[in-house]
Amino acid sequence: MITKRFSLQFIFALSISIFSIYLVFFLNPDGAIRILLNLVTFAGIYGLSAIGLNVHFGWTGLLNFGHASFMGVGAYVTLLLMPHAAGREGVVVTTGLPFFVALIIGILAAALFGLLLGLPAIRLRGDYLAIVTIAAAEIFRLLVRDLESITGGVYGIINYTENFQKYRPSFIDELSDNLGFSASQGWVCLAAWISIFFTVLFLKRLSKSPWGRALRAVREDEDAVRAMGKNAVWLKLQSFMLGAGIAGLSGVLLAFNYGSLESTVFIPLLTFYVWAIMILGGVGTITGPIFGSIIFWVIISETDRLAYLLFENANGQQLAGVRFLLVGVLIMFLMIFRPSGLLGKKEELLLDVK
């Protein structure tokens, strides 16, 4: 029964996603490929981040509202370890680690940051944890902005994409010549979806394992977990680290997609985006955020049309405003009317998490 309904949901989510992508072609007769690539890249990166968040909230019941900082730690550590230029004067650092080494250290750093943040926060009750994580993320962002000599502050980091683009397979260049999209974004997009593929495989393996089961038990009732002789705090910390590591990877990809990185990328709104995607896709599911992310980004990228309906001469700020507004509406309505999202199981609804 359950599996049958589940697969129906899956087909439903898949068709909506495909329809959304079709919509992009329909709405943008010119340059659809370019728009689509941009959209699919963002969808991949944010979807990956939402998969990480789902380990926290969906699996373990942890109210993490500091997800942006995990992405940020991953991105900054990775970029700063490689050749780059930073700050107002563009101080150039020519030496550094190769991309893959830096990436692994970046991911580990994000996981470590998760542990560091988790140690004080994890004993707190749900809503306190929400406040502490969002506060910690803000501390991180303010520090990054302020430590201009290292992170480039508001001027950001540039000239780092080559570290990654030099591994770009040649078929992407050929495709980009034919179809007229940016080759470098194509490579980021491919990398994002490869990352999603392996992360999903990895998590599928874990979710039905005794470890995944233990996390779900923590989500359900911590006291009972303790009474069974299991260290709930350690389980939560592990979950925090895993989700943070995945977020770190997505942060790195985000940095390569932007081509330059500065601290405003990691404002709390980024976290809320990821939350919206997770809820849309289905809290507690593994593949849900992928579909959630695609649909979310189609909505986001097509809202400028909506903005033109609302305002005769919409400017950039208003376009962005309508987008964010829609994210707010989406979060509210989903939480009220369909908290299980596209793929979530009604029986595993997380409505009454304490």
Partner: protein, 256 residues
């Protein structure tokens, strides 16, 4: 004293000036089925929380198998072989009954992240033996047909049974039962009582908090009475029945 599995000395706990528990000395003996009774607010559940580590005492010592566990974490205490249940049933709602049991019975090493990635054959073997064990216990407790249902779909009584099953699969030496009969229909209460009795006969030391005095008197080997946090009587069911202090403590309470 011999065979004192659990003993407490000068245990004190108060909430905002109100004494919840104040016990000079109390021990539970290996293999015995002891009930802790007392009027509402006598501090029974707080006492349980203290010895199982869910709350920290203001002062005093708690010994489990002669080890001082006064400030130990609940999970460490549970690993020493003392497992508790809760007054308000705490089952893992959005997990199946089977998963509830597998998690509870699973060894801590089996839960480890690394093993769960590697998925060695030994883990599969272990999980399968755990499943057999879980099935056996579920059948004993008449919840076998619910194995694949989510725990939230169980009735109140079935949840109590699941909690018991979860405790049993843990193979405890000591079982702390917090009102195992609360909110359970009389027929099921009979079943649970005989189950508790059987567990006791199997050699598990049981300490139980229960409001149903009749049931307590029927199966307990020893009854401990708390009132306003203090120990007022301790003896066999027959001794307690006639104890002046106990009658006094319950006076004016007709529902007991």
């Amino acid at each position: 004293m011999l065979n004192n599995l659990i003993s407490v000395k000068n245990l004190k706990k108060s909430f905002g000036g109100i004494t919840a528990v104040d016990i000079k000395e109390l021990s539970f003996i290996e293999g015995e089925l002891t009930s802790v009774i007392g009027p509402n607010g006598a501090g029974k559940t707080t006492f349980f929380d203290l010895i199982s580590g869910f709350q920290n005492a203001d002062s005093g010592d708690i010994f489990l198998k002669e080890k001082n566990i006064s400030n130990s974490q609940p999970y460490k205490i549970a690993r020493m072989g003392m497992v508790r249940t809760f007054q308000l049933t705490k089952v893992f709602d959005r997990m199946t009954v089977m998963e509830n049991l597998l998690f509870s019975g699973s060894d801590v090493n089996n839960d480890s992240f690394l093993r769960s990635i590697l998925k060695l054959n030994s883990q599969k073997v272990y999980e399968n033996s755990l499943k057999d064990k879980a099935n056996e216990i579920m059948n004993d407790l008449n919840i076998g047909h619910m194995a694949d249902s989510y725990a939230r779909e169980l009735s109140g009584g079935q949840k109590k049974l699941l909690e018991l099953a979860r405790a049993i699969i843990n193979e405890p030496e000591i079982l702390l039962l917090d009102e195992p009969l609360a909110g359970v229909n009389p027929k099921l209460a009979e079943d649970i009582l005989s189950l508790i009795k059987k567990l006791s006969e199997d050699g598990i030391t049981i300490v139980m908090v229960e409001h149903n005095i009749e049931a307590v008197m029927k199966i307990s080997e020893r009854v401990v009475v708390l009132a306003e946090g203090s120990l007022i009587a301790d003896g066999s069911p027959n001794e307690i029945r006639t104890n002046k202090n106990v009658i006094e403590a319950y006076l004016g309470k007709d529902d007991e």
